[in-house]
Assembly symmetry: C2
Homo-oligomer: 92 residues x 2
Amino acid sequence: MNEFFVELIGMLGAICTTFCFLPQIIKILQTKHARDISLIMYIILTIGVFLWLIYGILIHKWPIILANAVTFIFCAIIVTVKITWENKNNGK
Amino acid sequence: MNEFFVELIGMLGAICTTFCFLPQIIKILQTKHARDISLIMYIILTIGVFLWLIYGILIHKWPIILANAVTFIFCAIIVTVKITWENKNNGK
């Protein structure tokens, strides 16, 4: 297959797996509910995305750096909001 | 940095961003609650992971194929369970 289309598929995949977290952030901020979300999942995901970010820097690949920097921010927001709601609900 | 350690960082990142979905699957199956989870997020994520899978096949990279094949299955489970609980709760 043509090189351009191969790279296009990879880029579309990166855009989807990066910006998919926005609807989740909007949902928990609107509903102020995050109980069903697994904190363990997002902590492991945040660590994993951070490792990908370091990997991208080490191999000098901008697409990997950019995608994972944005995803890292989104995941850190979800972890922070999740912990905040949980503390609030537990009356801390 | 030594080539081995660079690849190790990438592999650890891939393992984290692949298996992080397991705690979320276990949580929603145990609690039978998925209301706070964004269905839109997981549909976009599942599409994105599928595109990454196609990309990995096209560039013949086993790590990308393997990580995204497993993640695709996990995301498809979450989407299915989320839709099932939602239908059940809406009395369909």
